[in-house]
């Protein structure tokens, strides 16, 4: 029998973009090693801080500017992080990759807008810059544009909790749902998207918001002959610990950004957009 879990295992998200913690750490560190040594070169930690900041704050502000739904935000962040698993910020500057990711994610999530509308509203972006990078981005993503996030599963759990948990009244469940939703939206930048499945992320968020309700719900609906509640609980616990991300402070980011622009000036590369595409 082909179960739904098997179907998930056939998804590109599982096959290409799900990793163990060690694999993920290796992937994040690798692009940095490909850059030739330089006195102003960024360390892996600095790179990650910068990527995190761009993924969290910049994507958010661009998405808010165009009133894009959180689905697009999740996908854009995912694209952005996946891109920097293959390339270093010292090869392609995030300030150009980021709008490309948002523009492409809007297309992937059926919230299309024309490139001119998009660029007119963003300072210092030319349509040609974004369109030139778009294919590189898609290639780097290995042509996988579908990103499953925790929001749909959360909606499902919200519905199912109404039938399973009769001790909680519905308005309370609504508030739990809303808090969990904002938690999931904030966790789009975290590593859990690559380490755990959307279902587990949704449950971890519920756990974080109201541990009592979530545990009770899981005990009542997921304890069966074919499922092991204990195993699930340890899984969710592991996910929950990495759910909330500490974003770098403004000062830190400023320092790293300055260092990066000095690096670009010093190495004489004229800008990320004119750089030749690496073939691999």
């Amino acid at each position: 029998m082909v179960t739904d879990a098997d179907l998930y295992r056939r998804s590109s998200q599982y096959q290409k973009w799900s990793f163990t913690k060690d694999q993920l750490a290796e992937l994040l560190a690798k692009p940095n090693r490909n850059v030739p040594p330089h006195e102003l070169a960024l360390t892996v930690q600095e790179e990650q801080q910068l990527i995190l900041y761009y993924a969290a704050e910049q994507v958010k502000s661009v998405c808010q500017q165009f009133k894009l739904p959180s689905q697009v935000r999740a996908t854009a962040i995912s694209f952005f992080r996946k891109f920097y698993m293959r390339y270093s910020v010292m090869e392609y500057h995030p300030k150009l990759i980021l709008p490309t990711c948002v523009f492409f994610a809007a297309k992937a999530e059926n919230a299309f807008m024309s490139i001119t509308t998009f660029c007119d509203s963003l300072a210092k972006t030319e349509p040609s810059q974004i369109l030139d990078l778009e294919f590189l981005l898609f290639k780097t993503l290995e042509f996988t544009a579908t990103v499953h996030n925790g929001l749909r599963p959360l909606h499902g759990f919200f519905l199912d909790m109404q039938t399973v948990l009769d001790t909680f009244d519905r308005t309370e469940l609504c508030s739990i749902h809303d808090k969990a939703k904002s938690l999931i939206v904030d966790s789009f930048v975290s590593d859990v998207c690559f380490l755990y499945t959307p279902t587990q992320i949704a449950l971890a968020a519920l756990m974080e918001v109201n541990e009592l309700a979530a545990t009770q719900y899981m005990a009542q609906s997921m304890d069966g002959p074919n499922t092991s509640l204990d195993r699930l609980l340890t899984l969710i616990h592991g996910c929950r610990q990495q759910l909330v991300v500490n974003l770098p402070s403004q000062e830190e980011v400023k320092g790293i950004s300055k260092k990066l622009s000095r690096y670009y000036k010093d190495t004489g590369s004229e800008g990320p957009a004119t750089k030749k595409q690496r073939t691999n």
Binding site: T3, T20, H148, H155, F157, L173, T199
Partner: protein, 318 residues
């Protein structure tokens, strides 16, 4: 249509003078002329075609109205009709499909040679046809007979299907009416029973039971009619089975999907995202809240069991 199309090239009379004018052609040479010319020239007996330089002998009986504007097409259709009547072997007379296809190809080749080929090709093809006709005279007649029988049989089949459908419809209407009558009668019986002095609960129960029994009988009758086998196609049974297998829609994993879920979908939820689900514009496309909710529930439980950390650790490193 230009003037040339509306004027008979033989007698020069035009449609303007004679609105009922009809043009006829003869498959011998396909030269067009009006009906009155045909009557005038060919009533006496066979005569040469009046077109200058044609000279073919034509008979009145073979003149016909032109169906296609393009004479090439008209000609090919005529040739095809003639050839197919002679080369009429049926598919089941061949051992393999490939052989049948070869046969069909041969027919097409002949038709093409006669309709569009050069004079020599045409001559050769005609000769082959007449040879074949001589050799297979008996077979040709038999095949034609069998084809006719099959056509009649198919017609009967269609008629009997339609009749069955009609009977079912009538029965359904009757069933509906009788159910309505039963409901009325049940009410009447209840009142009568009450008058006879039974307690109300008892009376109502008895009447209801009687009504249910009768409704059940009716329904059984209907279902019997529904399941009555129609005249099955026996001779073409194998072919029909083959065709129906080809028509079965594609199902992913041959339908071998998960049937049991950890959740049970309720009829209604408090769901702020579905506020617009009842608007006609949304419903028109076939959207229902229940479907979307089922999808969300399935997605919720979809990847529950998938433990990336252990599964990917044993897999080949990326």
């Amino acid at each position: 249509m230009g003037d040339a199309d509306d004027m008979c090239p033989i007698c020069r009379s035009s449609r303007y003078l004679n609105p009922d004018m009809k043009f006829l052609v003869n498959p011998e040479c396909y030269h067009k002329m009006c009906e009155s010319c045909v009557d005038r020239i060919f009533s006496v007996g066979p005569a040469p075609c009046p077109y200058v330089g044609c000279g073919k002998t034509l008979r009145k009986g073979r003149f016909k109205t032109q169906v296609f504007d393009d004479l090439k097409v008209e000609r090919e259709v005529d040739v095809r009709q003639r050839i197919v009547k002679i080369f009429n072997r049926r598919e089941d007379a061949f051992d393999t499909e490939a052989e049948y296809n070869d046969y069909l190809e041969e027919i097409e080749g002949l038709i093409f040679a006669i309709a569009q080929g050069s004079a020599a090709e045409r001559e050769e093809a005609e000769q082959r046809v007449s040879e074949y006709e001589k050799l297979h005279k008996q077979e040709i007649i038999q095949n034609a007979l069998q084809q006719k029988q099959d056509d009649v049989y198919a017609e009967e089949q269609a008629a009997s299907d339609a009749e069955h459908q009609r009977r079912l419809r009538l029965l359904a209407i009757e069933l509906q009416q009788q159910e309505a009558e039963l409901a009325a009668q049940q009410e009447k019986e209840t009142i009568e029973a009450l008058e006879a002095g039974k307690t109300s609960e008892q009376a109502v129960r008895e009447a209801r039971e009687r009504a249910q029994l009768r409704a059940e009988q009716l329904r059984q009758q209907f279902e019997l009619e529904l399941s009555r086998p129609r005249r099955a196609i026996t001779r073409k049974g194998a072919a029909a089975a083959h065709a129906s297998a080809a028509r079965t829609p594609f199902t992913p994993f041959v339908g071998d999907r998960q049937m049991e879920y950890l959740f049970r979908q309720a009829e209604e939820y408090l769901d702020p995202t579905m506020e617009r689900a009842n608007e006609p514009a949304v419903r028109a496309g076939g959207f229902t809240a229940a479907l979307a909710q089922q999808e969300a529930l399935k997605l919720a439980f979809m990847s529950l069991e998938v433990d990336i950390q252990t599964e990917k650790a044993t897999a080949i490193a990326v």
